[in-house]
């Protein structure tokens, strides 16, 4: 088996605050192979963004407590000094943020911002960097890229800005692209354009992609593997078919029951998860999902479930016996093929 491109081992991230310790990421382990797309699904506050901000080294080391290992191409990024990390960030790991309105600098021309990234990492002339910036804008499908490069972000539409962000994320041909809710701020037709673009560029540049999203539709169409996060932990992991057709965690069932489906012909009532996500300062004892879980029993209140492999590389963290879960599953909590 090939070496994983990125491996997280027992990553924990917490932030000390006046109100107490916020356990944003509470033990996450995962590995991503080259060329793979990993979908990370979870609601607000599930720790999905913090996990990958930590990978990027974008969490302030002074204000956060980070434990565990982040192995990227054989090196532990958490142990690297900041200037070494800067070399990897951008050139080997690219990132696309959620909000294209705030993640481009409003005072600088788009082309300049792209060229700046290239100049910071490579020994090229300004002219060359500018030419490559224009070339990247062309690659991501921006019409008249030479003129567009001379414009400011406010002259771009939302979709265009997100394209420019992707151009920036990919301008140094990274091995890993982390896309944090890349299309949440966009309309569906633009979203379809952007996701198709990420897929195409992934093939072209042979990069691995981490797609962080709350949209179960987006990952169904574009990911190979999916990781479901709840309250700072991975509660279920598996390939796309596992997660949609044979999910083995009550939270995943809840998520699937919560989304209205375009394909339903009957007006079926949604089955929402009751209650609210927990406060990350006061995470419930035992399984953190227990207050909202309809199948909860005494063991869930005391013992934290481990992420246990089921078959293949499908794994779930739940105390319910497999037979019980299969029974629930047969009642139609997942998607029927």
């Amino acid at each position: 088996m090939a070496e994983p491109l990125l491996e997280l081992k027992d990553l924990r991230v917490s932030f000390p605050t006046e109100d107490g310790l916020v356990q944003a990421v509470n033990v996450v382990s995962l590995s991503i192979m080259p060329g793979e797309t990993l979908g990370v699904v979870g609601e607000s506050g599930s720790g999905k963004s913090v996990t990958f901000l930590t990978v990027m080294g974008l969490i302030n080391r002074k204000s956060a407590i980070v434990e565990g290992e982040v192995i990227f191409q054989g090196e532990d990024l958490l142990k690297l000094p900041v200037d070494e990390l800067k070399k990897i960030r951008g050139s080997k790991i690219g990132m696309v943020f959620q909000d294209p309105m705030t993640s481009l600098h409003p005072f600088y021309k788009v082309g300049y911002q792209l060229a700046e990234t290239i100049l910071a990492h490579e020994d090229v002339s300004k002219k060359e960097a500018n030419e490559r910036a224009v070339e990247m804008l062309r690659t991501v499908g921006i019409p008249r890229p030479d003129q567009r490069a001379k414009q400011y972000p406010h002259e771009f539409s939302g979709g265009m800005r997100q394209r420019a962000m992707i151009a920036m994320g990919l301008s140094l041909n990274p091995d890993l692209l982390i896309a944090d809710e890349p299309t949440t701020a966009l309309d569906v037709t633009v979203q379809a354009q952007i996701l198709a673009l990420i897929d195409r560029l992934k093939e072209e540049f042979n990069a691995a992609v981490v797609m962080i999203t709350h949209d179960l539709g987006v990952v169904a169409e574009h990911a190979d593997d999916i990781q479901v996060m709840y309250a700072g932990r991975v509660v279920e992991f598996g390939d796309v078919d596992d997660i949609y057709y044979e999910p083995m965690h009550p939270y995943t069932w809840g998520l699937l029951g919560s989304i209205p489906r375009l394909t339903d012909s009957l007006k079926e009532r949604l089955r929402p998860i009751t209650g609210l996500p927990p406060s990350m300062i006061n995470v419930p004892k035992g399984c953190s999902f227990n207050p909202r879980c309809p199948y909860q029993f005494d063991r869930c209140l005391t013992e934290e479930p481990e992420l246990i492999p089921l078959d293949g590389h499908h794994a779930a963290a739940c105390h319910l016996s497999l037979a019980d879960r299969r029974k629930v599953l047969s009642e139609g909590v997942a998607i029927q093929r």
Binding site: T189, V190, H214, D215, A220, D241, I259, L262, T263, L270
Partner: protein, 363 residues
Amino acid sequence: MSVDVAEGVAAAPAPRGEPLLRVQGLKKYFPITKGILFQKHVGDVHAVDGVDLEVYPGETLGLVGETGCGKSTLARVVMRLYDATEGTITFDGRDITGLKGEDLRELRRDMQMVFQDPYASLNPRKTVGTIIGAPFKLHGVVPKNKIKPEVQQLMELVGLNPEHYNRYPHEFSGGQRQRIGVARSLALRPKLIVADEPVSALDVSIQAQILNLLEDLQNELNLTYLFIAHDLSVVKHVSDRVAVMYLGKIAEVATGDTLYRNPRHPYTGALLSAVPIADPDRAKAKQSVILQGDVPSPIDPPSGCRFHPRCPRTQALAKAEGISEGVMPICREEIPELTRQHEGQVAACHFPLEDAVGPPSTQ
């Protein structure tokens, strides 16, 4: 799950009776001016440009469209928060387009709005009790000493703990705040509720709670909804009929199922195919129509059919007929009218799509 195509076509009963809300030829232009002292009128944003729409009592009419298509403006004109530039709004058999003063105030009892952002639409310095009780005070329909029990009853109705009467909005989560917004809109027992993206700021599990709540309230209080959202799956789920809007105009109206199975307007088709489907097998089988470019500016909308510069249908037809401009001439020159397609389905297109053999996801 197998899909029966035929049932989708037949199961579209036309709504009967008089519409509760009727919008005819509605236009809303926002002027663009230049200069500081002499404000020269240099153009208009054609936000809503000739919309005809009916909402029947007890139904939910969904309104979908992308950013900037004018759906929120339409809602605000209907609510009389903006004045219409042209056209008429009839509510409950009465022309309300030009209502003023006391008449308008009274009208507001019958139509209320739920807003998108549960953080911005509640005054952070007022308690929940005051916020939900405000409509009672403003309209003086409930004596002062009866307000508190009324409010608490409303809070219970929307699934809030009535004991939280004296709390402030910041003490509630996003979903709970949206419940507060719903309770406030229900206070005066309105007939029509205009909900502008009521769930788009919420997490999926919370979104489902609010959607179920809106459904229950509709059944219980016999409400009529005009439900605006950009998420087609949500709109299809809650609505009896769905209107698709593009650049200030209605492109198509049909029941959710007919719309999904047999969209007639190429824009509807493209919009549907762009929605990501949370079902890997169907997602793989689906053929996406990826629209090129962005929505044109409503300041200077395209001539003829507003969708023609991006329309894959007219482009394909023009190519087949060897027309060098790339679009059929009629699409560029003539504005298509809403014409009847299936029972209860209208679409504004010169070359409507044929009936699909299956739903778009499996074609």
